[in-house]
């Protein structure tokens, strides 16, 4: 009945998935009531949902990581409920694609009840959304959250008074401790009410009732939304108008235009009148619920007086970023060594023992290609986990929003604004969620522009390549080199933003509004969940994409391309892989690395950047790799246990060094002369190695990022991005090699 109202959803894979989800949900609706969870951003919604659903929370991976619609089913006193967690929204007139998701769900999913989460410390603004929900004529219960934070601000909110004023059940919750959640679900199932919404001035109410009467004659629009739709039309909400026009409601639009003219004639600007009426009512309710306020200096005030300080703000930001990177490297490094060393040796040893019966090529494939390849990639999991933990902390604590504030002026000089800074920073972790995070930007041209420059931000998968080359060629200047790569990536990204903004992706205008939510100590459980989910998706790629690529590369390396060689015992140079790479390699001769080995390793990097290292290993060590000695069960366990003990000890010892002054040049020498590093030191001149790193930094987004860009902005943008980055990487590599050759 309500399908015609489906929003012109942003171009996401979610579209089809969401449509079929809806069908499923309608079939299900007969049995389990559906509850949507709505609220302003930063009201503790995620924590509340985690508390309600526990481990049942199913995270749909169809629409990104930061911005998503999440579903869970739970059983409460023998009754099952479907929960649908929606992105935070200040109002139901969408300004960003993520707010659009929220409104689309309210219109189309026809939920039985809405659970509206309120921030007790910011009642008036939060009630604006509540009152808009009441225009929706949908049963509501209110979760009054963050009461403790309100107390810190000097406000005591009386839930009973709020309940009387709103006419819907109000349950006090402390989401972070799980208090009140059972009562909340109970109330949602038993006592939800439509509530006493706003009574607008008589002229507006007259227009609304005439429009609602008109909608009642049509059977195309969901009944619960009539009043909301009428008000949106009077307010001139462009997205609702567009949608109704597209679904053959021209008569209704004409009627709305006549009503708007009528209002104009009586001197009413519906947009202002409606907003003022809602805020007047919100203020009235807030006054009833909060009898007195004793203004106090909050923690946020105190922190911001340093974090946003005119002179200290930027140094604090840089120090924070530095700290995150140092934490990532020093604390995680021992575990990286553990996975790449003792654990991998153990697994290889066991595999060699278990496969002693197998034919030679199978043993080679498993022990010589799959285990080292996947092992190399998995060994970066500790680094990623620490990096993601730190980033989730910065995001959830509210500091990332401050970074946007500090960076706005700088971003303006390249034609963007502070909000675009957040996806770029997230890009240092992984480009894929960063592309989805562009969905919080308002203008399409901004979203496209940021997505196109994002892959220049050096994601964590590129780090292994820098580290191994640093160890091989620049053991003394390791951290300087790594820093230089990050900075070069940013510089190139900014340069292209500058150019694109002035040529094809012009500013749409629209003003800049940055929200600065109060600081909050993120709940460790939520933090761990975010970080773990992101790390796990990396690990899944090791199982699928990386495993597949390693196997294919091994196969290509095993197939002889010259006569006289046997399958699986051919020299790499004589393999099919070697021969094809040899044809392509002259392209890279001006960049200093025109060998088939260097060229060949770049190809699988398109699949995932971390595979470059794995492939370099396969190629350079392929000839000399000694089959690991078979290990017995006990010997293997001993190796693994000893290795783990060492790693834990070293990691704990590294914690204090994080706070020490950065000593450039000291680190990055952990695996100084690993066999691969030694091989690379022989194969590359320093200038060529540098050019190679620059090329790897810039040359192409990985396939997952290309997929994300395509899903968000279409195939054309995705392939343009790949093509222009290839060109940029080649030119930059050329310059670096030709210049560096003179000095190194």
């Amino acid at each position: 009945m309500s399908l015609p109202l489906l929003e012109p959803a942003p171009r996401l894979p979610i579209h089809d998935a969401a449509a079929c989800l809806q069908t499923v949900s309608r079939l299900r609706a007969a049995r389990a009531p559906r509850a949507v969870i709505v609220g302003n951003p930063n009201v503790g919604k995620t924590t509340l949902v985690n508390g309600l659903a526990g481990t049942n929370l199913k995270v749909g991976n169809w629409s990104g990581v930061t911005v998503e619609k999440r579903e869970a089913s739970l059983t409460f006193q023998g009754r099952s409920v479907q929960l649908l967690d929606l992105p935070g929204a200040y109002s139901l007139s969408p300004h960003t694609p993520e707010e659009l998701i929220t409104r689309t769900a309210l219109l189309d999913e026809a939920p039985e009840v809405a659970i509206n989460v309120l921030d007790a410390g910011n009642l008036e603004r939060n009630l604006y959304l509540t009152l808009q929900l009441m225009d929706f004529r949908m049963p509501i219960v209110v979760a009054l959250n963050l009461v403790d934070e309100a107390k810190d601000k000097g406000m005591t909110v009386e839930a009973a008074a709020l309940e009387r004023a709103l006419g819907v059940p109000v349950i006090e919750t402390v989401a972070s401790r799980g208090n009140g959640l059972g009562q909340l679900i109970g109330a949602a199932l038993e006592r939800a009410e439509v509530g006493q919404g706003v009574t607008y001035p008589a002229e507006i109410e007259g227009s609304v009732s005439r429009l609602v009467a008109r909608m009642a004659q049509l059977s195309t629009l969901p009944t619960h939304a009539h009043r909301y739709l009428a008000l949106s039309l009077l307010e001139g909400d462009p997205s609702i108008r567009g949608r109704l026009a597209a679904t053959g409601h021209a008569d209704l639009l004409a009627a709305a235009d006549r009503e708007a003219l009528l209002l104009d004639a009586s001197g009413e600007d519906a947009l202002i009148t409606v907003a003022e009426a809602r805020y007047a009512r919100a203020a009235q309710i807030a006054q009833a619920a909060i009898p007195q306020v004793v203004a106090r200096r909050t923690l946020t005030d105190r922190l911001d007086s340093v974090a946003l300080h005119r002179w200290f703000g930027i140094p604090v930001f840089l120090a924070t970023v530095l700290l995150v990177f140092r934490l990532t490297f020093s604390v995680a490094a021992p575990f990286v060594a553990l996975i790449g060393g003792p654990l991998q040796d153990t697994v290889s040893g066991w595999a060699a023992a278990a496969l002693s019966w197998a034919p030679f090529f199978l043993r080679e494939l498993v022990v010589g290609a799959v285990i080292p390849g996947v092992g190399t990639v998995l060994s970066f999991l500790p680094t990623l986990l620490v990096l993601y933990l730190a980033m989730s902390f910065l995001e959830d604590s509210g500091y990332m929003a401050r970074a946007a504030f500090l960076a706005d002026r700088m971003m303006r000089s390249i034609g963007l604004d502070g909000r675009a800074f957040i996806p770029l920073i997230l890009g240092f972790g992984c480009n894929v969620p960063a592309v989805y995070a562009t969905r919080t930007l308002e203008n399409r041209s901004d979203r496209v522009l940021v997505s196109m420059i994002l892959p220049f931000m050096s994601c964590s998968a590129r780090l292994p390549v820098y580290i191994i080359f640093a160890a091989a060629l620049f053991p003394k200047q390791g951290s300087v080199l790594v820093w230089a790569m990050y900075i070069l990536g940013m510089a190139v990204a900014f340069a292209f933003a500058f150019v694109l903004r002035r040529t094809s992706l012009k500013n749409e205008g629209g003003g800049v509004l940055l929200e600065l939510p109060p600081y909050r100590l993120p709940a460790p459980r939520v933090l761990w969940k975010h970080a773990w989910r992101r790390t796990a998706s990396f690990a899944r790629r090791a199982r699928t994409t990386v495993l597949g690529t390693v196997a294919v590369v091994w196969l290509l390396l095993a197939i002889p391309a010259v006569s006289g060689s046997k399958f699986a015992s051919v020299r790499p140079a004589d393999s099919l892989f070697g021969t094809v790479s040899m044809w392509v390699s002259p392209v890279f001769a001006p960049l200093g690395f025109g060998t088939w080995q260097a060229t060949g390793a770049l190809v699988p990097g398109f699949v995932a950047k971390e595979v470059v290292v794995a492939t370099l290993g396969q190629i350079y060590l392929g000839e000399q790799a000694a089959t690991p000695a078979p290990l017995g069960l006990f010997a293997g366990l001993k190796t693994a246990a000893l290795g783990t003990w060492t790693a834990v000890k070293e990691s704990v010892q590294a914690i204090p060094t994080v706070l020490a002054l950065p000593s450039l040049g000291a680190d990055a020498s952990g695996d100084a002369k690993s066999p691969l590093a030694a091989a690379l030191a022989k194969a590359f001149t320093p200038a060529a190695g540098l050019a190679y790193l620059v090329f790897v930094l810039l040359y192409t987004p990985c396939i997952a990022t290309v997929g994300a860009i395509q899903a968000e902005h279409g195939r054309k943008i995705a392939w343009i991005t790949v093509a222009y980055q290839m060109g940029t990487a080649w030119v930059a590599g050329l310059i670096v090699y030709q210049v560096a050759r003179l000095f190194l």
């Binding site: 410390g121 202002i272 629209g510």
Partner: protein, 76 residues
Amino acid sequence: MSETTLDTLRPGEAAHIIGLTPGHPLRRRLMELGFIRGAKVSVLRTAPMGDPVELRLGGTELALRRADLESVRVRL
């Protein structure tokens, strides 16, 4: 009771809103956040390079650029 625009206020100063310039792209959004007639808005601080400007309105803290503040008319 002098009228001015919000960009002229210095950190620490406060004013009451009169209205927003019609046609400004942020008009609807700001109204939804509480930028309505009579609401009290105070200027907290400016960013390191003088722009944007952090404001407090009700319990909300947010930042706008000076160029956009010009379209917010206030009464001191």
